[in-house]
């Protein structure tokens, strides 16, 4: 193993030094704060949008405005700097802020158009809409908190898969990712075995096993990296790691 090129280094250990974006949101440095905000934004915009759509019964245009408005307001007023890890998880804090924001907007009876029709952030609302359409039936079975959490987990994993793909493409390990995609991401009902993959990719079954194990390990690392970025304390990180990596989907 080449410690310089292999993700995670020679020991494949868990991340310990990732900067928490939640902590960085309190930074005096505007650049650091902006970067932290971007990280939080990337991690939460989609669950936020879906949550507003389904739990606040907002139409897609209102949900877009409310999502934009919520994050614009949070950035302008530096809301995330007020988060206290001792009181609740960041996810709960964000959702509480969001509920308060949407309730206030509804109460005021206004439709947000911050800065006219100019959107502050570039979000792929179309993909979020597609996903809502695919899961509309299931969403009704969950309470608001569980729904937000599940969508956040889905988004964390989706982003992690994307990061994994990019890294593997950059390092010339497309086969690793293709195996992972075929075995672990394949939604097709047809069962895929290691043997069939070995045949398809002209590899030894043991090699398929090793490639998949290494890819899953890296995937796990990426998920935890992302998690550390958006948790404020070690305790929260551990709690969320357990929740995120738990077998039961909440």
């Amino acid at each position: 193993m080449d410690p310089d090129t292999d993700i995670g280094g020679a020991h494949q250990r868990f991340p310990v030094t990732n900067q928490s974006a939640i902590a960085a949101a309190r930074s005096e440095d505007q650049v650091v704060r902006q970067r932290a905000f971007d990280t939080i934004l990337n991690s939460y915009w989609k669950p936020t949008y879906k949550y507003i759509r389904l739990k606040w019964h907002a139409n897609n245009e209102d949900a877009k405005d409310l999502t934009q408005g919520f994050f614009a307001d949070a950035f302008e007023k530096n809301h995330f700097a007020h988060y206290n890890a001792r009181k609740a998880s960041f996810q709960t804090f964000l959702r509480t802020c969001l509920d308060g924001f949407v309730a206030n907007e509804r109460k005021a009876g206004k439709r947000l158009k911050r800065g006219g029709d100019v959107n502050h952030f570039q979000f792929d609302f179309l993909s979020a809409e597609d996903e809502i359409a695919m899961q509309a039936m299931q969403a009704n079975d969950l309470n608001a908190e569980d729904y937000f959490h599940r969508e956040w987990v889905r988004w964390m994993f989706t982003m992690s898969v994307d990061t994994l793909r990019q890294r593997y493409e950059a390092s010339g390990r497309q086969v690793h990712f293709q195996l992972f995609e075929a075995y672990d991401l394949n939604d097709d009902d047809t069962s895929v075995s290691y043997a069939s993959l070995a045949e398809t990719f002209a590899l030894e079954p043991a090699t398929v096993n090793n490639y998949l194990a290494a890819t899953r390990r890296d995937f796990r690392r990426i998920v935890l990296d992302k998690l550390r970025e958006i948790t404020a304390t070690d305790e929260e990180f551990r709690t969320e790691a357990r929740s995120l990596l738990g077998v039961d989907v909440k």
Binding site: R13, F14, V153, F157, V161, R216, R220, R238, L245, V249
Partner: protein
């Protein structure tokens, strides 16, 4: 970005959450149990072609110091060769840095499951005595368990009793044959479980309902064999009442509990360590006396109780004497008539 369905999400979470045993001689089979300190998996030992239980620490982060201590502790616990202590076969580090123990895979049921269908007090007492003996053996080797509870005690397929989960054990002293070393503690970070929680000085490790007062207060320096004896008393309370310990005395929960049994339980669970049994062996001995209907050290009987116990113990003899007396009376009357 590719949409992840719920089923795929569940699969990915399992894939990511499950340990990666590549580079070891084990292959993953399934998850067995998840607790505050770690998760136990069923795995296949591919060299010896047998199933083993592997405990992997749940925390995603470990320091080198913690890892080193865990391995050392596992090595010491692995030397506790006793029929009542689940043997540790192997210890190692997974590719992701987590430490694991490979242990004998015990087929059977937990003590609480066993108690659910075993109403015989004598059977329960025998099992409990076996637990005391295993703990006494560990104590004799300078190891205290610190998380004794019905869920950590297994009754095997052949009725054997095994004390599991030595993952939070504390080593008070090493055996005389080993290099002298200061007392050390196995400290496993918790991962959000309400029942079994983290330790460092001033914090708590164990399971609240079964832990001693000093353990509840997080006084790690104060823990010794008597802390385990308190937990044994709590397990005994459970066996007497089918309930986890509460403020009520055992007889208040279950009036069928005898006074000597209650006295043993309360002595083991005394708030002050000095008032508890000095050793698990002493507790075991009292349980043995209770089984043999002998006077127990924890309870001073009055004359009536002594007679009652003697009668109960010698029921056959008493019946014989009574039968003899009845026959004599019968013969006396018949001879007169």
């Amino acid at each position: 970005m590719k949409w992840l369905s719920d089923s795929k999400l569940t699969h990915l979470r399992a894939v990511v959450g499950n340990p990666d045993f590549s580079g070891t001689k084990y292959s993953f089979v399934k998850e067995l149990a998840r607790g505050g300190m770690g998760t136990v998996y069923l795995a296949e030992d591919t060299e010896l072609n047998r199933q083993v239980a592997i405990k992997v620490l749940s925390t995603p982060e470990m320091t080198e110091d913690l890892r080193r201590r865990m391995i050392r502790e596992a090595q010491i616990i692995a030397r506790l060769e006793h029929p009542g202590i689940v043997p540790v076969h192997d210890v190692g580090v997974l590719p992701d840095g987590r430490v694991y123990y490979a242990m004998k895979f015990v087929r059977g049921e937990r003590l609480d499951e066993y108690a659910a269908h075993t109403s015989s007090t004598r059977e329960r007492l025998r099992k409990f005595q076996a637990v005391c003996d295993a703990v006494a053996f560990a104590h004799a080797h300078g190891v205290i368990h610190r998380d004794l509870k019905p869920q950590n005690i297994m009754i095997g397929s052949f009725g054997e009793v095994l004390v599991l989960d030595w993952g939070v054990a504390k080593i008070l002293r090493e055996a005389k044959t080993e290099d002298a070393s200061e007392a050390d503690t196995l400290i496993l970070p918790a991962v959000g479980d309400n029942q079994t929680i983290d330790t460092a000085h001033g914090t708590v490790i164990g399971t609240r309902q079964y832990m001693s007062p000093e353990q509840s207060r997080g006084e790690i320096d104060q823990l010794d064999e008597r802390s385990d004896i308190y937990s044994l008393g709590a397990v005994f309370y459970f066996l007497l009442t089918d309930q986890a310990p509460s403020d009520g005395r055992p007889r208040a929960v279950n009036p069928k509990v005898g006074k000597p049994a209650e006295a043993i339980c309360l002595k083991a669970m005394a708030h002050a360590r000095s008032q508890r049994y000095d050793s698990a062996a002493e507790l075991s001995a009292d349980i043995g006396r209770l089984l043999d209907a002998e006077p127990v050290s924890a309870y001073r009987e009055n004359a009536y109780e002594k007679v009652s116990r003697w009668v109960g113990k010698n029921r056959f003899l008493v019946l014989l004497v009574l039968a003899y007396l009845l026959m004599r009376i019968f013969f006396i009357f018949t001879s007169r008539s």
